[in-house]
Each structure stands twice: as C-alpha cells, then as structure tokens.
Amino acid sequence: MIHIPSLKSTTKKIPIQKLAAPNMLYLPLTTYKGTLSTIVEKDSYVKKHQKVAASEGVFASSIHAPASGYIRGEVNIDNQSYLMLENDFKEVAIPAKQFTINNITEDEILSTLLDFGIEGSGGAKFPTHTKYNTGSKPIDTFIINAAECEPYLSADYTLLKNYTKQLLEAIQLMQKVIKASAIVFGIEKQHKELKPLILQTAKNQDIPVKIKLLPNEYPQGGELQLIKSVTGKEIPKGSIPANYGIVVSNVGTLWAIYNAFYKGTPYTNRIVTISGEKAENIGNYEVAIGTPVSYILETIGLTWNATSQTVILGGPMMGKAVQQPEIGINKGSGGILIIPNPTNKRYNCIQCGYCVDVCPQHLMPMEFARYSTTEDILQLKNFHVNDCIECGACAYICPSDVPLMNSIFKGKELLKATSL
C-alpha cells in the first residue's frame, strides 16, 4: 500500500456534463473473457439502444448502440476489434422497457443485467449478471466500492454526490437478489464529506447502510484490498468473493443498473473523468460507450499528438497509453487523462526493497524483473507472479524506474504459455 497524491480536487467539484455523441462510434467488442460477435449486418440501420453484438457462456455479455445509425463493419485497432457505427443524429430509439420494481423477480433482474450488457465499470469489465448470480450462497456483506483509489479519477465521487438517491435505489433492487445482511460503502478518507450525505439519504429511504472510511492509500479500491479493509478477510487471488459471503460492486456499475431498471436503457453511457496536466476543460463527462479518444480530445479543445503528450485510457496507474486515437471508450474506462510524457530513466536495480514494501499482495516484484529477463518460469511460479493484481504500485515507487510492470506482464504470459 502506498500514498499517492490524489489530484482530484478540481474535477470532483465540477458537475457532470454531457458530451454529445460523435459522428462515428467505435464500439469495443473485447470483454472480460473473449470477444463479442456482431449480430447485425454491415450497412444495416440500427436504432438507439438496439443490441448490436453479443456473446454466450458464463461470462456472456452484449453491447448496444448508443445512437441510431448505420453499422459500418468491424475494424481492428491495436489488436482489439471495434464495431463502427455511423451516427445519423436522428435519435430513433427502440421503446424503453418498463419494469414494475415492486414485483420484479430475481430471474428477471439477472436476465435484464445480461440482456442490457451490464459489466463492472471499475476496469476489469466482469459481467454483472455472473457476479450477482450467487445462487444459494449466503451473503453477509454487500460492499459498495467507492474507494476510487486511482489518482485524477473522480467519476465515482461525482456520481455518489449527485445521484445518491438513485444509487441507493439500485442497491435496494440488487438486495432482492443477494439478500446481504449488511451493506457497507468503502470510501477513502479524502472523500469523507460524502458520509453524512449518504447516511441521511439512506435514512430517508429506510435502507440500513454502513460507511467504512478507508485510508488514502493505493490500491485501496482493488477488490481484494477493499475486502481486506472492510471485512478483515484475506481472499486468495482468483477466487470468487461470493464464496466467502461477499459481493463487491462499483458505483459506476450501480449507476448502470439504475438506468437499466428505472429508465429502461442498456449500458450505453458512462461517466468518464477527463483530466491531466495537459488537458483543457477538465471535469466529469457522460460519454457514450464507443466514443473515440480523438473526438473527446477535439471536444475539449486539444489535438492528437503522440510526441508531446501521453493520453491514458483509464487511471494513471493501471490504464493503457493510447496508441491509436480512434480507440473507443469501453465500459471499464473511468478516465481519459492527458499528461506530459513520463520522464523516467532506467537505472540498475539497487535492491532497495521499496517495491516489496508497497506491494499490496506482499509479493517481491524485483524477483519478477529478474526471472522474466531470464525466462525462469519455475521461479516465476515460485514467487507467485499470478497473485499480482497489476496495480503498478511497485513501478510507481521504484527509484531506478525498472520496468517492473512489463516484466510482470511478460512473466504472466510465460507462465500461461507453459501451463505449469
């Protein structure tokens, strides 16, 4: 665990603004596991909120058109496929589905989550219907992940501040499925002003919630770290929290759930923080899924320039540097950050052990750097490279700027390839 300057103070004060849909949308087809297959013909006309691609199986998901227009086929950008949708700006929508919230059944909730393509908005894009399908397992804690530990990002914060009532309604609805005995909000101390607001609203709606203030440490919002901080349970990586009686849901996901059941709209919009030292008009924007990065840059008054700035999709710690400006916003991207190119110099490792001190999973990152270079798969397994949650805290702290994350990614690939 490590303290990182939060850099959220400006964006968290600005109310959510809406970004108009662009001329051409690039709907991401990559999901938690696998790829969606397009279910509409090329050059056919689709209405707003119509399902355009879907997949099958336990981790099934789908994506819907955020606007009406013509499908212009699939395109591969930076090894990920996107479905192009040309916006005709006519906003021809399919009729919104109506739900009778009071008599809704568990099955209806779960099938709607699947049908509306709702996925975890925290970054991993885990399908929400799978997460809530806890079967007969007793759930004792329902954790609302509002830690948002990545610097710059404040999308979850603004949602909680402006849509407290709506989010609590979504929580109440999901309680019908999981029937948890306690609802706990995990909020970082730096956002403690939200505490009275949530408690008051929850009291008005007669929902018993608790608030757990967490230290301002990264990666507090990591699922395993959040569970540890809130319940004290330490869960091994790769296991399902429901097996331990815990369900964790992100604020952004709950907002998508609210929109699905109370507005009848699928997951086509999300809140994105636009921020960074080189950004203009920073703030939180409601953006259509599939909006290309280049369009967002133009809207806020910037141009794509790979040499003078770095554009990051997601948070600065775990996000990806954008290589192609056409890349569309996906359901897990919480931010678009425009920052100066990082200035780092690679030195030799001096074995200071800072990376070991900060690792939230208590691993030894410098060993991964060694054994990835020599491709010593047995040692990588011995040092549990697969337990790494890729939070990047080690790379952040390293005074020698050893490319620890790259060696971890490489190590995981090596291990996957050998099936050890």
């Binding site: 030799n348 060694r370 270079t373 020599t374």
Partner: protein, 206 residues
Amino acid sequence: MQEYFSLFVKSIFIDNMIFAYFLGMCSYLAVSKSVKTAVGLGAAVIFVLFVTVPANYMLDKYLLRPGALSWLSEEYASIDLSFLSFIMFIAVVASMVQLVEMIVEKFAPALYGALGIFLPLIAVNCAILGGSLFMQQKDFPNVGMAATYGLGSGIGWFLAILAIAAIREKITYSNVPGPLKGLGITFIITGLMAIGFMSFMGISLD
C-alpha cells in the same frame, strides 16, 4: 569445556578451510551455482569431516605415529608407521565417502543427481584430507577434540560454500564483463569474501 568451544569457533571462523587455507576449492567453485546443491554438498562435507577426523585420529594414535603400537606389546614401541598416514587417511576418507554416497542416493536421489561427480570427488577434496593432516599436526590430546575440530572445519566450509552460492545466485543477473563471467568473477568474489573473513584473523582463543 571451554577449550572445546574455543576450538570449535576457531575452526569455523579463524582457521576457515576456504578463506584461511583455500582448501577444497575445486568443488567449492564448481558446485556453488545454486544454494540447494551447495547445501547438499556442504552437509556431506560436514558429515565426512566429522567422521573421518576422529577415525583418523584413532588410526594415528594407535597405529601410525612413532611408538603408537606400544599398546600391542613393548617390543613394537620403536616402530614408526607415520609414512603410511597419507594412504591410510585417504583409505578411511574414501570408504566414508562411499557410505555417504550410498545414503544420499537412497534418501535424496534428486540431490544425488545434482551433486553428480562431485559427491565421489569429496574423497579427493583437499579440505577433507587437509582436516585429517591438520589434526595430526595439531596433536590433539583426545578424540573429542579431534571430532570437534572435524565438525568445526566442516561447518566453516559449509558456511563458505553457502555464502558464495547465495552471492552467485544473486549476481546471475549482473552485467559482469565477458572475460570475467563464470569462474573469473567467482575467484574475485572469493577474494572479497576472504577480506570479510579477515575480521577473525589474529583472534587468539585459548
């Protein structure tokens, strides 16, 4: 009791087989690539030294040294068989090594494979024969002292190979200049380690 303790400490640190006498270097250099095999070989050396030094002490006392045979009868008191010490000592060492080899092969086949040729080569490890010859030279008063000396020397050798194996594992990823890679840098490390072990030079424990 105190002389046992001071002999023990002395044989580990002050008269360290590797850093004071540079004995047993061949297997020390060859088997120190990984800590696991180094520990195995080190343990074997401890065992062999612990057994052979007192065994050879008895041999020396009752067979080899001038007048050693006087326990048989007075007329043998003038016989001096010490010219046989090398051959006798080596015979004892070799048979002990055979024993160790059989034990290791039976109970730790993986270690047996890793040690390879160096296990039988303990027989000609100069640290082992050196232990027995130093014992002869130091002229211990009883077999207990000899056993203590054997054990201490073995532990000293064990510590040395353990430390260098850990260092060599650590520097696997170092950017050592081409000509020094492998044995070259190992010799340099040994030299630097000997500087570290000079801490004990000059200590006299009586």
